[in-house]
Point group: C2
Chain length 342, copies 2
């Protein structure tokens, strides 16, 4: 078989993989934000009827992944593989959220880049002939993430301006061969990039070098530039991180204009919602893509986008042991549906 690699980090699918459906379920704060009308489900109760934040996160996963399959007019039994992950220790949001599904399961850890990793591997499994349908997703929960990575919420710790707000929710897509929907055409897989940032309250700075590295690699591999995309969208860098990416790439002679934005910027109203640097967490890019961008692609308002969920690959233990925070980004080229229905 001829290779599908078109550069050091990029592959081009033999046949575009169709995003047959996308589903997004979010918590109360996201439901008050500027993207409220794009989400499928908004949940008022941050516990989602459960007794712990972790169980609530799993509940988001289970309900939303079922919704994605339903929106694709398919059954869970039709899914050849499930790929997902989250921020919690041992990916427990995903494990306990999907354990009822009884389908072949690949657990992923890409921190907040997980949606990009799940869609990348899912699309390759389909294009490689191994699957007809893949269910891919990612989740996070503000309360379980704060508890695990920063400080118990009850402590009322002051948040610095560079701190971001973990998005509560789950985003999931059903990928398939054929059918109608936006298509994944190319995948640029990120390297771990560590520039020595150690401030767990400035994740945007930790992830920006990885995002810049991914965008540059993608442009080099494809010969394209910012002008070839209607949107270039990173995962959860927020306001500070986005500006850093622009600055880092400017130094490399690569200019990004206003077509480059970040899901962390779009999901909250910075002024009205007191979310400081913006949104973050695996769900940030997952629900923003599944809610907002999926619809923009379907309506052909965006014809080609580079979607690059970003992740800060730290743990509480590594931070306590003085390690810096490595970042990663997983990029996908996603295009609007072809004009004619197949």
């Amino acid at each position: 078989m001829e290779t599908k690699r078109i550069g050091k980090q990029t592959v081009r699918l033999r046949e575009p993989v169709v995003i047959r459906a996308a589903a997004s379920t979010v918590g109360p704060k996201e439901a008050e934000g500027p993207l409220r009308k794009y989400f499928d489900e908004t949940v008022e109760d941050i516990f989602y009827g459960e007794t712990t934040w972790e169980k609530a996160e799993s509940h988001f996963v289970e309900k939303n992944m079922r919704l994605a399959v339903q929106k694709a007019d398919l059954l869970m039994e039709d899914m050849d593989y499930i790929l997902c992950g989250d921020l919690l220790n041992q990916c427990s949001g995903s494990i306990f959220g999907t354990r009822q599904f009884k389908r072949p399961f690949f657990g992923l850890f890409g921190a907040c880049s997980t949606m990009g990793e799940a869609m990348s591997l899912g699309a390759m499994l389909i294009d490689g002939g191994f699957a007809k349908y893949v269910l891919a997703g990612a989740s996070s929960h503000f309360c379980s993430a704060e508890k695990q990575f920063r400080a118990p919420l009850g402590l009322g710790t002051q948040r610095p301006p560079t701190a971001s707000w973990t998005v509560t929710g789950d985003g999931a897509v059903v990928l398939g061969k054929g059918g109608y929907g936006p298509v994944i055409t190319e995948i640029t897989t990120g390297k771990t990039v560590d520039m020595g940032i150690t401030d767990a309250n400035n994740m945007g700075a930790a992830m920006a070098p990885a995002a810049a590295d991914l965008i540059l690699a993608h442009f080099l591999d494809t010969g394209r530039s910012c002008a070839d995309y209607d949107a270039i969208v990173s995962g959860d860098l927020g306001w500070y991180g986005r500006d850093l990416v622009v600055e880092l790439l400017e130094k490399e002679g690569c200019h990004l204009d206003e077509r480059y934005t970040d899901c962390g910027i779009q999901i909250f109203n910075q002024r009205l919602q007191d979310t400081h640097a913006g949104g973050s967490g695996c769900a940030c890019s997952a629900v923003t893509f599944c809610g907002y961008y999926y619809k923009m692609l379907m309506e052909r308002k965006i014809r080609r986008m580079l979607f690059l969920p970003t992740g800060a690959l730290m743990s509480q233990t590594s931070a306590q042991q003085g390690e810096s925070i490595p970042g990663i980004a997983h990029g996908l080229v996603i295009e609007c549906p072809p004009k004619e229905e197949k």
Copy 2:
């Protein structure tokens, strides 16, 4: 493209993927066990020159993955993807162990089944035309695992007979197209199976139903039975878990004879090494395969094996919140090298 699926959970690769090299690096206890002569490197210092157990685990990852690439007569730059994971929170053993490699990276979480997950996805990426070479591996460390999942070692907690001993080390393979070596021909991907076991000191019982489910699915998908394999080898069920698998399958009318064993049984001498139920951890199946089985396949003493690393998908938080322990297994059919060198 025609589908490669031959059953509900199994795919057959279009062309066998060659395991170009396998490397194993283990700690002092493993070096005293019955497989000592099969490991590439044995490290006397449990800290491996580092100041913490977590950093030691990353050191095992870095050194051993470099060794695998070196044994394959390749350079790290030749690796199109790296796939690996471990038991630590946010997979920090793998993240910090591979961050210097600067190659496209997919982090995985499959608990102790990770070696199976990494080899499965790696083989599919190659057979799908996305990669020429993939570096896949998994690691664990007795001290970091005990600290995270059970009790601080300094406490000297008594271990019940069903407790297993987390293997310290890293196992890694270089997968590629062409060349000489054992080959991966089929992949059976596991479902999450939760039978309600809640005892974190009896992981074998938690994982046995998932291993039994995988073996049964594999036999159904391929029409084979135990007699078609020279060895069927699960990951880290240990003595109690192995017997449970045999018992569970007997009830389904499926007989496993002595060709079925478990890496957790083989890696330690139960009587002399006081390891109770046997070995466990991501490294258990990874180093036993990369050390012992790889050589048995190369020497054609084993012609066809079903290798199924097993994982208990629990976290400390889920255990504290009363959740049961879901299990998973990832199966691969691995055959000895074809008689003629290519």
